[in-house]
């Protein structure tokens, strides 16, 4: 299949300035660094900057700086807890301040990387933010010691109150902050972090810091931005991916209310700019546009399925893992099992659709944007506008959902810049309609997987051959991630190497192959990325193997996991809390699954019933997670619950069908989303082992679908091998 390469900058060429993360790993370097913006910080909140992570107000309020993006996942609260823990401040007095990318760049990226994806927010920055909090504490204590002329070792601190017991003196952070700010920061090597087992703020199930203005309409999202003289834009990109604009009849809409301009955006899109967004959208909907749709208009879900099926039979591969001789072991086995699974394209469907407000002036470019990567937004602004980076500003807004959609691509920023170029010195807000958002996502890639296994006479797994065929995210967004034709990322969760996304089974003869079959549909990371598909294929097939062997689903798995104690412990926790083996009400059946991703171990049980009419009800799910250190159990539970809703919605309904080269499920009427009434009771079991830092936002989603599908298998006595379930007759 021919793959169209967009000429519209969607595949962002990252600027040289975005340095590798290697320099960030040594984030401790930045500890003593004072951002050249102390005056600004003072003006903003009356606080004194002790170091880049901590500013203290005269009333002892602690302002903790946050570099990562908050999209609901709770990273803001978790990061603040880690800083506050080492700072020994009063949690009730903590507020946060988001760092802008221009400030970070001007400070030689003192705050480290800002990109927020891959469940990395806390696990990658935990060490340097904790050291930042600790360094600030050391400075504040030293300032008090200097003032009292006593050795700093004689001081103690709790809740931001410093005490010298011998002289019965106390002072507070607010009183010594100005003196502390003048001291030389400690050498990062001299900072000893607390043993997490002694944590008092981190590790506790604290409430989020950012809830209040989400309850009364006061929170301003990027889509809500209002600026003096602002215009609004609606956009329609070619419905067929890769198609081009031929013409549009702007005379038809030029006199409609509020319309300022009808314009082509790059080669592929048309925008209407008006006084209000409703006027812009109304005119755009009425605008006749002719497209050159090209050969891609011949593509449909059926032709794509054929393309992937052909991949399942291909002899080459684009990534593999093997030990022993799986093909021979399966061929010679006493019992053979074979199954082919498939999963569809999925959109992210963030509640806040893509949007960006851009203002371009002669010597300045600004963007107001919700983004998982503020630095990528800034780079896109500079690249698209031609304004040097040093004169670009990106204004930070918390996201109305991200899920991987708002990362590096920044397609909406590129579009908004093109539109704003027509209106110098005027802010223009581009908002995508829901239909546009559904039509132009970077979708979760479509894939299929053929699984073959052999069992010996005792019902033990002697060989396993996994062959997946599907679209590569790297091929679309990050071709350099493919080396010598091998795209390791597509095997996420099936890796041999420990630590990140390791397969938890030991199989004597194992062959895993990935065959790349790309399409013209843009693809990208979607909460959990390839662990979703790979987890489903592996765990549903292992279930089929267990049943073919006549063994209990849990026992069959355990027998393969002796060399993976962490995977096993989490599976056991889910089984225990999920009452595995205990009686269920009539008609209710259980399923189980385990998998690994983002450095964390997950397992789940699901309890479902299927009515005689084939109606599915998921009653209860128990999810176990070992994320190493659990920074906030309350927020971890929220992420687990969220992963069930996101994963179950995909399992039940999620499907972006392609017809005539375009997406056809353009709103929630056909791209259905699970509602509250379908949400099972979710119990989260956190079993941290305190010896690593794993992710939280994504890991558990990959066990949701297989646990439910395995419970359905138990209920109806046959496997379900394709999603979504809305297309499957269960009885």
């Amino acid at each position: 299949m021919k793959r169209m390469i967009f000429g519209n900058g969607q595949r962002l060429s990252r600027r040289k300035f975005v340095v590798g993360s290697a320099s960030i790993a040594a984030g401790g370097l930045a500890l003593g660094f004072k951002a050249p913006f102390v005056g600004e910080a003072l003006a903003q909140n009356g606080a004194t900057e002790v170091n880049i992570w901590v500013a203290i107000k005269p009333d002892d309020g602690c302002v903790i700086r946050i570099a990562r993006s908050e999209m609901g996942q709770g990273t803001l609260t978790g990061l603040a807890q880690l800083v506050a823990e080492e700072l020994e401040c009063d949690w009730k007095k903590v507020t946060t301040e988001g760092i802008s990318p221009q400030r970070n760049l001007a400070s030689k990226r003192a705050w480290g990387e800002m990109g927020t994806g891959g469940s990395r927010g806390i696990r990658i920055s935990q060490e340097y933010v904790r050291k930042g909090g600790a360094a600030a504490r050391m400075l504040l204590l030293q300032a008090a010691a200097d003032q009292w002329k006593v050795p700093v070792g004689e001081l103690t601190v709790s809740d931001g109150i410093i005490t010298h017991a011998a002289s019965k003196r106390t002072t507070s952070y607010g009183k010594v902050a100005a003196a502390a700010a003048k001291l030389t920061a400690p050498d990062p090597k001299d900072i000893t972090l607390k043993d997490p087992k002694s944590w008092k703020i981190a590790g506790k199930p604290l409430k989020r810091l950012d809830t209040a203005d989400k309850l009364n309409g006061a929170k301003v999202y990027a889509i809500d931005v209002k600026l003096p003289g602002m215009l609004n834009a609606a956009i329609k990109d070619a419905p067929v991916f890769g198609a081009k604009v031929v013409s549009f009849d702007d005379a038809k809409v030029a006199r409609m209310p509020g319309v300022k301009k009808v314009m082509k955006v790059k080669d592929t899109a048309v925008a209407v700019v008006a006084d209000t967004w409703w006027h812009a959208k109304t005119a755009l909907d009425a605008l006749p546009i002719t497209w050159d749709e090209g050969d891609n208009a011949k593509v449909s879900s059926a032709t794509i399925a054929q393309h992937l099926k052909e991949g399942l039979a291909a002899t080459e591969n684009n990534g593999e893992r093997k030990n022993g001789d799986a093909l021979a072991a399966v061929a010679g086995a006493a019992k053979k099992i074979e199954a082919t699974y498939s999963t569809p394209f999925l959109s992210h469907a963030c509640m806040e659709m893509m949007n960006a407000t851009v203002k371009l002036s002669a010597d300045k470019a600004e963007v107001w944007v919700a983004t998982q990567n503020l630095e990528a937004s800034l780079a896109a602004l500079s690249e698209a506008s031609g304004v040097p980076l040093a004169k670009c500003e990106a204004h930070r807004y918390d996201l109305g959902g991200g899920f991987g959609r708002r990362g590096g691509t920044q397609d909406y920023v590129h579009q908004a810049v093109v539109i704003a170029k027509e209106f110098p010195d005027t802010p223009v807000k581009l908002i995508w309609s829901r239909e546009e958002d559904q039509a132009h996502d970077f979708y979760r890639p479509i894939s299929m997987c053929k699984m073959s296994a052999g069992l010996d006479e005792k019902g033990e797994l002697v060989g396993l051959h996994v062959k997946s065929s599907g679209q590569s995210i790297n091929a679309w967004l990050n071709p350099t991630g493919i080396q010598n034709g091998k795209d390791r990322r597509q095997l996420q969760g099936w890796w041999e190497e420990p630590g990140d996304a390791q397969l938890g089974y030991t199989v004597p003869n194992l062959l895993i192959e990935y065959v790349m079959r790309n399409t013209h549909v843009p693809v990208g990371p979607w909460r959990g990325v390839n662990t979703n598909q790979n987890g489903l294929y592996m765990e549903c097939f292992i279930e089929e193997c267990a049943r073919a062997a006549g063994k209990d689903s849990l026992a069959f798995r355990r027998a393969l996991m002796s060399k993976h104690p962490k995977h096993l412990a989490v599976l056991n926790a889910a089984a225990e809390k999920g009452d595995w083996g205990k009686p269920l009400p009539a008609g209710v059946h259980r399923g189980i699954a385990q998998f690994m991703g983002y450095g964390s171990y997950s397992a789940a049980t699901a309890e479902v019933s299927v009515s005689p009419q084939g109606k599915l009800k998921v009653h209860r799910m128990v999810l176990a997670l070992n994320c190493g250190h659990a920074v906030n159990p309350h927020q971890i539970a929220a992420q687990v619950e969220g992963s069930v809703a996101y994963g179950l919605s995909a399992t039940l309904y999620g499907e972006c069908k392609v017809d005539k080269g375009r997406m056809v499920d353009l709103n929630f009427d056909t791209y259905e989303i699970m509602r509250l009434g379908e949400m099972p009771k979710v119990e989260t079991v956190i079993v941290p082992t305190y010896d690593f830092w794993g992710g939280v936002g994504e890991p558990t989603i990959c066990v949701v679908a297989p646990a439910v599908l395995n419970a359905i298998h138990a209920a109806i006595g046959k496997p379900v091998r394709e999603l979504p379930l809305k297309n499957v007759k269960l009885v």
């Binding site: 609901g72 209002k226 509602r675």
Partner: protein
Amino acid sequence: MAKLNINGKVRDVQAEPDTPLLWVIREQVGLTGTKYGCGVAQCGACSVHINGEVQRSCSVPLSSVKASDKIVTIEGLSANSSHPVQKAWASVDVPQCGYCQSGQIMAAAALLKKKPKPTDADIDEAMTNICRCGTYQRIREAVHQAAGNTRAADRAPRRS
């Protein structure tokens, strides 16, 4: 020109009669707590109260709203977030990204007005707004809390 009573204040708005109330509220009145989520009355992010009934404002044309109709948006639900639903939402720590929560809170407030002691089945039926972060379980908990449903029996068995 039309007159609208929003949050107890009568305002003149300038918009075509077929303009959805959502966009009048957001772009003419300037209250942005009411959110655009789908435009086709599917998701409920735009939920407001009109004469005490929850309505999806993206699908209510301006022409269908009378000057005497009392419209309440999230900004007008209470002073200082003091409505029992808002208090329960804070207590249970419901929101994640928060984008859909204005609509969720308005839907819950309307439910409790009609059914002060809702069962789980009542909540299932009334709370049909979409949340992509997946706060559904905490929404259920918070609605019960706002209603003062403290005993399991208040909620009716979930398994039927």
